[in-house]
Every structure is written in structure tokens, then in C-alpha cells.
């Protein structure tokens, strides 16, 4: 009998170290003597557990066992999540020195803080600040062929922002690339106030943000051949 064959009894009793156990399992495949011996002895070994008295199993056991298993399962799910988080934290720790960690943390906090302040700043306008109408300017038809054209322009203020809102009705329809253009007159100079197209009922609306301190004397609306006019090229349709 070779030396390795002497491990058979320890192998059956499951007392070999894992590496030895695997090595012996490999040996079993090749050693016919051990193989035969193993088959005989393990048969007896596996018969041993049946040497017990049958006992009535308590009814409550099933709930206690399965409940224990599934509850444990739920807990370990949570634990796995926590373990992942702490692993992540460990990874960060090993990547950064304490100094760089604190620098990164400060930067991150500053970044988040600024970001939040910025968002709040942006949100303040529509949410918290009421719109105030500063001026109402009635608009009248300026072309005899469409005398019913009328409208109104408002200068509204929201916070420090001023907007011009122009609303016109009963406008003659436009064709092709034609648009209506609003002009703001100041000291006989005309400045572009934006373009718009009327809907099928001849109504149109335009909002134009006024630059800080921008004022004007009069409003004129012309029909322009396209959206590229820097100075009025078409006829005046309405005005203040």
C-alpha cells in the first residue's frame, strides 16, 4: 500500500485538509485498490446516519426554520448593500491621502453649495416675484386698408427685468416669408423690437426683453418681406 493510500480512512471521515481532500479524490480515480476499498467502506459510512430513532417532528418547526432562512436572507441583502458602501469608502480611503481627501471634500461641498445657490437664484423669478405692469400703450391701425387693426403694448417688470409685451388683433394675413416686425422709436431712430407672425384669426403676440435702461418714445409695427430687416422696408400697419 502506498503512503497516499493510507489517507483513505481520513478521506472517508472527511478529515483531510481541502487541498489533501482534492488530491486524494484525484488519486481515487487512478488507484483501483483504493477505489474498491472506498466503495465498500463509504457504503458503510453512509449507512451510519440511519441509525437513529424516528421522532415526531413538531408542527411549529417548519415555520421557525423557513422563517429563519427567509428573514436571514432579507437581512443579508441589506448587509450586502452596507458592505458595498463601506467597500466604496475604503476604496476612496486607499486612493486619497487625508489632505487630498479634505481638499476634494471642501471643493465638492463648495461646488454643491454654489450649484444650489444658482438653482435657487434661477428659480426665484418665476416663482416668487410678481409681474407688475408699468405702462399700457394702445396701438392703432396705421394703414387705411385695414382700419380695424388694433392692439395694446405693455411694459411689464419682474424684479429688475423689464419686458415689452405687444398684442395685436385684426391683422391682415402675411404671405410666404412675410413677418410683422416691431420697431421702437427713440429720437427718430428705429430699433428692432422683434418679429412675429399672426395666427389664422389675425392675432399676434410678441414678448421682447428690454435692455437695462432702454426706453423708447413710440412703437411701430410694419409688415416685412422676411425676418432679416435691420430697418423697416415694408408698410406700417399699426403704431402707438
Amino acid at each position: 500500500m502506498r503512503r497516499v493510500c493510507e489517507q483513505l480512512i481520513s478521506y472517508i471521515a472527511n478529515e483531510l485538509k481541502e487541498s489533501e481532500h482534492m488530491a486524494f479524490a484525484e488519486h481515487l480515480k487512478n488507484c483501483t485498490e483504493c477505489k474498491k476499498e472506498y466503495q465498500e467502506l463509504s457504503q458503510a459510512w453512509h449507512a451510519l446516519p440511519f441509525d437513529y430513532t424516528e421522532t415526531e417532528v413538531p408542527e411549529s418547526l417548519k415555520g421557525e426554520v423557513l422563517g429563519f432562512v427567509f428573514e436571514h436572507n432579507r437581512q443579508s441583502d441589506t448587509e450586502t448593500f452596507m458592505a458595498k458602501m463601506s467597500k466604496l469608502a475604503m476604496m476612496f480611503k486607499s486612493q486619497f491621502t487625508p489632505v487630498s481627501t479634505s481638499i476634494v471634500t471642501v471643493l465638492l461641498l463648495a461646488f454643491i453649495g454654489l450649484g444650489m445657490a444658482n438653482v435657487q437664484e434661477k428659480n426665484r423669478h418665476p416663482e416668487n416675484i410678481p409681474i407688475e405692469i408699468l405702462t399700457e400703450i394702445p396701438l392703432k391701425a396705421a394703414n387705411q386698408s385695414h382700419p380695424r387693426t388694433n392692439g395694446i403694448a405693455y411694459i411689464v417688470q419682474q424684479g429688475s427685468e423689464k419686458n415689452l409685451v405687444v398684442q395685436v388683433h385684426e391683422l391682415p394675413g402675411v404671405e410666404g416669408s412675410q413677418v410683422y416686425q416691431v420697431w421702437l422709436l427713440k429720437n427718430s431712430k428705429r430699433e428692432n423690437g422683434g418679429i412675429f407672425k399672426p395666427d389664422e384669426n389675425g392675432s399676434g403676440i410678441l414678448t421682447y426683453q428690454l435692455a437695462e435702461g432702454q426706453t423708447f418714445d413710440q412703437i411701430g409695427i410694419t409688415v416685412e418681406p422676411d425676418a432679416n430687416s435691420r430697418q423697416p422696408r415694408g408698410k406700417k400697419i399699426a403704431g402707438s
Binding site: E6, I9, S10, I12, A13, N14, E15, E40, L41, Q43, A44, W45, H46, A47, L48, P49, F50, D51, Y52, T53, E54, T55, V57, P58, L61, K62, E64, V65, L66, F68, V69, F70, H72, N73, S76
Partner: protein, 181 residues
Amino acid sequence: MKENYDAELMRLVNEKNGHALEELYDRYIKLVYGFVMKFCNGNEDKTKEIIQLVFLRLWTTNSHYDPAQGSFVNWLLTITRNICIDYLRKEKRHTQHHQEEHEEIADPANAVEQRVNTNDIAMAKNKLPTAQRRLIELLYWKGYSLSEIAKLEQEPLGTVKSRLHQALKGLRKHLELEDIK
């Protein structure tokens, strides 16, 4: 056929199918309960704790039962016995009452066992010489390792091993005789 069904159940358990685990419980609880009760000398609380650990092991294990490696029952009982042994070893470490335990198993073939051991393996075991019976009791049911037993019996390890060899051979012989009858 039966092994295939068990293998399929175990595959479903590996995939965390709760119904499959319940099915395994229903099929084998009688066996596992009887086994663990014997291992724990009839202590119901310990038995419950160990059985919980056995089914938790089935639920969380990554090892798959392979029908080619033997019957499912053997596989299940090997797992169960390993957990029993771990449990008892931990307990021993806590209590340190080695001496008492030794006295308990001084006579393995006690009156109660004689009365209830009516099945084949029990009869075969009772035909073994006392030293071999005692060895199986210590090793298989009390969870002592071969070297622990050698120390306990103040004998060389080789003697203990060859006694186990003889005991298993004897058991097999007696079992075969029972089959022939």
C-alpha cells in the same frame, strides 16, 4: 428518477426559489430531524437551531448537488452532520466540560439504544466489538476527530484509523448479511 427530482429541486433552491426549499423541507425533515435529535441527545432547542442552520446552508450555498457524486440523501446528511459538528465544537469551546461528555458516552450500547435500535444499521452496529462501536459513536455522532479520539483513548492514531477501517468493514459485512436474510 428521485435523484433527478432532488437535483432539480436543489437547482431551484440555488436560484432562490422559496417553494423549492419548502418542498425539500417537506421531503426530508423527518430524516434530518431524527438525525439531528440523535446528534443532540434529544435536546429540542439545539435541534431546532441546527436545522435552521442546515436549511440556511441549503439556501445560501453555492455548491450544487451532483447526482453523479452519490445520492441526495447522503449529500444532505453530510451537510447536516458537518453543521452538527461545527455547532458542537463551538459549544464545547464555550463550556469546556470535556470530562462530563466523556462519561456520558462511556457505554454506547445503553439500555435505551438496545430497545430502539431495530433497523438494519443498528443491528449491524450492535454486532461490532465494543471498542469499534465506541469509536463510531465518538467519531460519527459526537463529532470527535480521529486524532482527538487517539488522544482520548491514549492510543496511537494509526490504531484508531485501523479500528475504524475494521468497523466499517464489519458493518458492511453485517449489512450484507441482513440484506440476504
